[in-house]
Amino acid sequence: MKILIAEDDEETAAFLTQGLREVGHVTSLATSGHDALFLATSETFDVMVLDRMLPGLDGLSVLKMLRAGGVRTPALMLTAVSRIVDRVEALENGADDYLIKPFAFSELHARLNVIARRPAPPEAERALSVLDLELDLQKRIARRSGRRLDLQPREFTMLEALMRNAHRVMTRTMLLEQVWDFDFDPRTNIVETHISRLRAKLNAGFTEDAIITVRGSGYMIRSE
């Protein structure tokens, strides 16, 4: 992917650039708001990482201007302050996701992957299927190889989140947000426990594990 990084802190910028290049992406760096605005409007990127605080023009203003100018490149906003009001403001102004510094690289990478290929709005969608897994989104019924699975509502939601993002890693925090609407990390290993219960239900009677654990990152649905 071609990724625009707008970050004025040298160390963070180097960390991002190096990390993203290592996993095979092409990056461009802007160190001010005006640079970011110029780059984002003169080239096409698959996704951009915008720091909230940039010299000259702050990240939020850059994003507002880009969205007003019709640039729809998915954006992940980075911020050093974890104020709830800021997060709401960023999402309302066209950010596709929001990450608070300091963050783990795997978390950023997983989130970029998700927003870069965000599927079309699912309103018209009635069913999802990945390999032998099928979800009926209207009747909330899950099947594996045609056999009906007995899932709790949250388990269904978790499976849906994994299946919507097939080929992409879902991190613990992403699952906490999407399944339970938690923006904090409980001490209890909620995600691990619920994944293992879901996994047990999905795999009963099958030899292949339907959920792949990506060490140090999160979980993926098996898609090949």
Binding site: S82, I84, V85, W180, F182, F184, R187, T188, T193
Partner: protein
């Protein structure tokens, strides 16, 4: 224009005094003109009546009867203040003692007679060419006018004097009281944080202000104390993971490590770094919640659903740990709040209960609706906390001695307390006999 008005107390009171004085002058002018007008009309009326009477005499008895009538009137007390002139067509005086030249027919406001008096006069031409002048002395009007002016002059002076005195008195009273508040503020600026504004013995506006200021100062002092406490606690709590991190790295540097071992050391070091970041995140979160800025994002929130989601999330782990988790939730409790913060509050309380009770304990989450508020409580039947330690455990970083060896940074309950306060509720700890009961009362909507 408005900006040029005085702002000091004395200036304002002086302004009020001047306004009062001006009002007095205006009032005096109105009273003067109204009464002057009334007296003038009374005088006109008297002259008209008198003229009417004399003309009636003339109609019945001619000039002779008129002459007699005038002479009779002048001879008696009835003519008090009145004067008459009767002249025939050849301007010869037939009767009347008023020593003035006969004016032209009609009203004359000021008729000056030779004795220096001024009268109001009505001159009428009779059918035979003679002229009758009836005049009334204006002296009573002048006297009354003067009396009114005098009275208002005195009132004006009194008003002005009272205004000036009031300005001076009120100004000095206010200045004295403000000086006391000022002195207290200066003392606090100079570092005497325990200093308070002195109170008045009797209740009044200044005393109310002093009380409010003192409450503000109490709150500030408490916040400052909390800040000092937290700074030293953070420093203290950070030392341990930082020291461990350094030890791990020091040890690694002293040895020749293989790739696998190096990796292990890095994982270890990274975990200590993670702990530190978690600690900071928790502290920042509490500060944010305590600043109440989060209220800007409050929305109608279904607390029953939030609680259900939290219990649903935690149940497998809590039950796997050997605990019994019981939920007793009233349906559809809606309140104004932040659903994620409320989730965190409930999760923290349940996790706290599980962490501080032995396996086999029962944790009960209750949500009851009572009128316009809801009572949320999380209780356990574990060892509980002695009542005299209840306040202590809500403080940041506070951990009872017996919990020091357990994981956790001691921020769970203080974050829950901060979230409760942001939702205008107070976290209460009480004895569940046995065990601990943590509860809060939230205002509902609808």
């Amino acid at each position: 224009m408005i900006r040029s008005l005085p702002r000091s107390t004395a200036g304002l009171v002086a302004l009020v005094a001047v306004a009062l004085a001006v009002t007095t002058v205006l009032l005096g002018f109105v009273v003067y003109s109204v009464s002057h007008e009334a007296l003038e009309r009374q005088l006109d009326h008297r002259i008209a009546v008198e003229t009417h009477g004399l003309l009636a005499l003339h109609r019945h008895g001619g000039l002779y009867a008129l002459e007699t009538g005038i002479e009779q009137r002048e001879a008696t007390e009835r003519s008090d203040g009145m004067g008459y002139i009767l002249e025939d067509a050849q301007e010869r005086r037939l009767a009347g003692a008023l020593r003035a030249t006969t004016p032209q027919p009609g009203w004359l406001e000021f008729l000056h007679s030779e004795d220096g008096r001024t009268s109001q006069a009505l001159t009428t031409r009779l059918p035979d060419g003679a002229r009758l002048t009836v005049a009334a002395d204006r002296a009573p009007i002048g006297e009354i006018d003067l009396a009114i002016l005098k009275a208002f002059g005195v009132a004006f002076s009194l008003m002005l004097a009272a205004g000036v005195a009031g300005a001076w008195l009120l100004g000095s009273v206010i200045r004295r009281r403000l000086a006391r508040i000022n002195a207290a503020a200066e003392a606090i600026i100079d570092g005497d944080l325990a200093r308070r504004v002195p109170r008045d013995p009797a209740p009044n506006e200044f005393d109310d202000l002093a009380a409010t200021l003192n409450r503000m100062l109490d709150r500030n002092e408490a916040l400052l104390e909390n800040l000092q406490q937290v700074s030293s606690d953070i420093a203290h709590d950070m030392r341990t993971p930082l020291a461990r991190l350094r030890n791990v790295l020091d040890a690694a540097m002293r040895q020749d490590l293989g790739a696998d071992e190096s990796k292990q050391v890095l994982v270890h070091a990274s975990r200590h770094g993670e702990d530190l970041l978690d600690l900071f995140a928790a502290v920042l979160r509490i500060s944010e919640v305590e600043s109440f800025q989060v209220r800007a994002a409050f929305q109608p929130t279904n607390l029953t659903e939030v609680a259900e989601r939290c219990i649903d999330a935690l149940r497998p782990d809590v039950e796997a740990g050997g605990y019994t988790l019981i939920a007793d939730l009233a349906p559809d409790v809606v309140l104004d709040g932040d659903r994620r913060l409320l989730s965190q509050l409930i999760v923290n309380l349940i996790e706290n209960a599980a962490r501080h009770t032995p396996p086999g304990s029962t944790i009960q989450v209750r949500l009851a609706l009572a009128g316009d508020h809801a009572d949320l409580s999380v209780s356990d039947n574990g060892p509980g906390i002695p009542a005299d330690r209840h306040v202590f455990v809500l403080r940041r970083f506070s951990r009872l001695e017996q919990s020091r060896h357990k994981p956790g940074n001691g921020l769970g309950l203080s974050l829950a307390a901060a979230i409760a306060r942001a939702h205008r509720a107070e976290l209460r700890l009480s004895d569940a006999d046995p065990g601990l009961d943590v509860s809060l009362r939230l205002a509902t909507i609808r």
